[in-house]
Symmetry: none
DNA sequence: AACTTACGTTAACAAATCATTAACAGTTTT
DNA sequence: AAAACTGTTAATGATTTGTTAACGTAAGTT
């Protein structure tokens, strides 16, 4: 199995341990983002995409369980590995043991951690949830190619860096091509909220996207009155 | 494992012991360069490439620990074996025991030394350290060649020694060429933390790298507003 | 010890970017 | 026809970034 491009969120407050783990995992080819406590970890999780989380349980500001709960709100199936002090007889561990999760007791060897990670990733992939299916995939929209991870919209004639919101909206639309994307769904997904002004803001972005995609007449963003928008590509 | 071509820097002031070690190691197929004290050792290290260092701790002019520190400045991951008088209870030993390093107490058999060396080399190769050819590879960026392990940025016209941070940042960018490296990922990877001032510090380094890479107009470091940077090489 | 040098951080100010809001025109529904 | 919704452009203000210089510190040098 290639570890390439698999990104891991490591939340661990012990600086020495975290360095050891991070360096080892990076040598194995994972991308690792390390946070020092639960708050930071949650923040990082919402801003990035990860394939797996490694959470220490005992941490300042927000413990691993609370963090895991928060993470689960956003991402139902992401595998989580807990790091616990040896015989921590906490019932909550059992509560999380289901699904793809696992826990490892300290002290552990880096090899053990690595094996567990591989096992979990394998298991989860088998279970049919390709971890980040669309992660680095480019999306073709008519004559355009859209690379969401690079926020780059390319055609033969032009290349444009999209802003975060532009990119997020186009991603949403292109993932649901020829299907209605509800106003509310878009607003809640991208803006996390839904009120009049945010709605108007989205309309401004729709105008921008229409302009950017104007090179290809087969592409259109159609408004469904009172409902939402649909990105359409003819033939 | 073939010892062929593996070159060892041996720094040991006892002439008899050093001869014994050198001859034994050469018999095993290693290339050995011997220096009589720390100063000589450091000089030799900067002028040549080694796969492993064997340093006596008690030495005139510069002791083994100081030498090791100097070596680490240049080469972060090269394995170091310390030779110590039997039960030298120096805390500093523990400081160095991490990673690929090891220490051997005198007196020791040549066999023991040989086994340790093999074990260390194996371990480090597995861990993918710079012994691993993959990681010692130079990176080509437009007209430039960047050697991360030597922190050296070269073009036809110029050659520049980068500082650690400059080098780390350029490494990260060039490993993800034409892809966005998020601010957060860079900050957490290189600085281990992410706050406002560290972020500003990174911006200063970006400015520096842009200046260094300015000779080749095909190279650019593009800011993706609110997201990160992308090292781009056209054609 | 006093003096350099090198490096990373912080400060300070200029410039650019972006999401939002406003404003007004046009559409669709009831 | 009134009300609600959408399209579009431009103005606004906050945030982010670019850049240079000053600063502090640690190491080496005299």
């Amino acid at each position: 199995m290639s570890t390439n491009g698999t990104s891991i969120l490591l939340v661990e407050d012990d600086p020495n341990l975290s360095i050891v783990i991070r360096e080892y995992l990076e040598m194995e080819g994972y991308k690792v983002l390390h946070c020092k406590d639960g708050k930071e970890g949650l923040d990082a999780f919402t801003k990035n995409k990860f394939d797996l989380c490694i959470l220490d349980i005992m941490m300042p500001r927000m413990d691993g369980f609370t963090l895991a709960k928060e993470i689960r709100k956003v991402s139902e199936f992401i595998p989580i590995v807990f790091l616990t002090a040896k015989t921590m007889d906490d019932d909550r561990i059992n509560g999380f043991k289901a699904g793809c999760d696992d826990y490892i007791t300290k002290p552990f060897s880096t090899e053990e951690l690595s094996l567990r990670i591989k096992a979990i990733l394998k298991r989860c992939r088998i279970m049919g949830s390709p971890l980040n299916p669309e992660q680095n995939k480019e999306i073709h929209i008519g004559n355009y190619t859209f690379d969401p991870s690079n926020m780059l919209l390319t055609s033969e004639k032009s290349e444009r860096n999209l802003t975060r919101k532009e990119s997020a909206l186009l991603k949403l639309l292109s993932e649901n091509i020829n299907q209605i994307v509800t106003r509310e769904f878009a607003l809640r997904t991208i803006w996390g909220d839904d009120d009049y002004f945010i709605g108007r803001s989205m309309d401004v972005f729709i105008t921008k996207l229409r302009k950017y995609l104007g090179e290809d007449p087969a592409i259109s963003i159609t408004n469904i009155h009172g409902t939402g928008f649909r990105l359409e590509v003819k033939e």
